[in-house]
Symmetry: C2
Subunit: 224 residues, 2 copies
DNA sequence: GTCTATATTCGGATAGAC
DNA sequence: GTCTATCCGAATATAGAC
């Protein structure tokens, strides 16, 4: 087997396993068994279990963040440098949710893996949070520019809540499905994204906006 | 040392350690070292590491759920059997947040421990999720009664989002503090509870964004 | 590059003294 | 009830054959 294939097989297997279980619960033996490679391969290609996690996490977040950032840039272009709150939130929420709910098993696993890994306290992740931190700052800055009249504190809380809903939906959709007796459709990606964006938008734009009648909201006051 | 003291010391130490690290990352040796007791004491008093986790989790959730439920009952009394959405949400959100932000270190650790443990995939937790499930169903039922005109699906999503915000705030407040440059005051318990309740209430009572047909919503808010 | 076999550490559990 | 000492399995990592 070629070197690249072995590396990729390990990364893919690790991602799938870490999507559903924590770092410590997944052993290297689990990973190599799923990847169909030998135990020694992990250390040969990555050095250690920790470094495998770090490389995998950087690899996936780089792609996801690029996708988010591209949408943010597109929104800035469309808004002549002032993207709407709605567009910013779509750039933040859309990519992870579309990944998670994708029929592509690997994409879905990648989204769950990242969400899980980002709250792990193990050393390899601690070293990488800075990357994610700067990534989120871009969104915070975009929101501040889009809502110059809003108290900054409210903006950060709104972003915090948006991230909360993304996380919960990516990692805990099973509970919602059971709680609702199967009523909540977790296959309708667009509907879910719109729900999260809508709630986050109301949180950001404030109480007044949140109680504005549908007719006014839907006609697009934010675009002005 | 008396039996009760040893048991309590183990429970307290385990709770504090599991508040910040996952099940697998905390070893029994870590726990007994923090508790100042001997390694064998855990097996003597609890049987195994798994059973220690299960007993601790049941112990803490029992108290928290009772507190939540008492507030829900009080709200029902005050509302003549029909508690307001606001009161229901306060019963759901208040207890875990007050625990988490309490100056009492143990209370705070208990809240973080429960939040962490509830998403663990290890066997001892899997066996207990049913308890939590029934607990949440009570709140779902209360919300359905308070909002009879609302689509049930929206109610479950609103509950889901409320739980998301609670979880994120309990486990990840540190990131919000850093992201906001210290602007967000994470000591003002009441303010935080009101923020979460307000957003959840808007999501539940809705300005309609979440239940508006896609066709209408898309005309004004979707990005290009 | 890949794999087998093994070294080494670590963690959970237990036996038995006190 | 408590503690020391130890067993046993598991997990990471590595050495060395192919």
């Amino acid at each position: 087997m070629a070197s690249d294939q072995t590396k990729t097989a390990i990364l893919t297997a690790a991602e799938a396993l870490w999507a559903d279980r924590s770092f410590g619960e997944v052993t290297m033996r689990d990973i190599v068994a799923a990847a169909g490679v030998n135990l020694a391969a992990v250390n040969y290609h990555f050095g250690s279990k920790d470094e495998l996690l770090a490389e995998l996490f950087v690899s996936r977040t780089t792609v996801l963040n690029r996708e988010r950032f591209a949408e943010l840039k597109a929104a800035e272009l469309a808004g002549n440098g002032r993207p709407s709150v709605d567009a910013i939130l779509h750039a933040l929420v859309g990519p992870p949710l579309r990944w998670c709910l994708s029929p592509d098993q690997q994409r879905s696993a990648a989204a769950r893996f990242m969400t899980r890994a980002s709250v792990e306290t193990v050393p390899p992740i601690k070293k990488i949070v800075d990357r994610e931190f700067r990534h989120l700052q871009r969104f915070a800055n975009a929101l501040r520019q889009a809502l110059p009249h809003r108290d900054e504190v409210d903006i950060y809380w709104g972003l915090h809540f948006a991230l909360a809903m993304i996380r919960q939906t990516v990692t805990d959709s099973e509970r919602l499905k059971k709680l609702s007796g199967g009523l909540c459709d977790l296959n309708n990606t667009d509907d879910i994204i719109e729900r999260i964006v809508a709630v986050a938008r109301d949180a950001l734009e404030g109480d007044g906006a949140a109680r504005t009648p549908v007719a006014i909201r839907a006609s697009g006051t934010r675009k002005a």
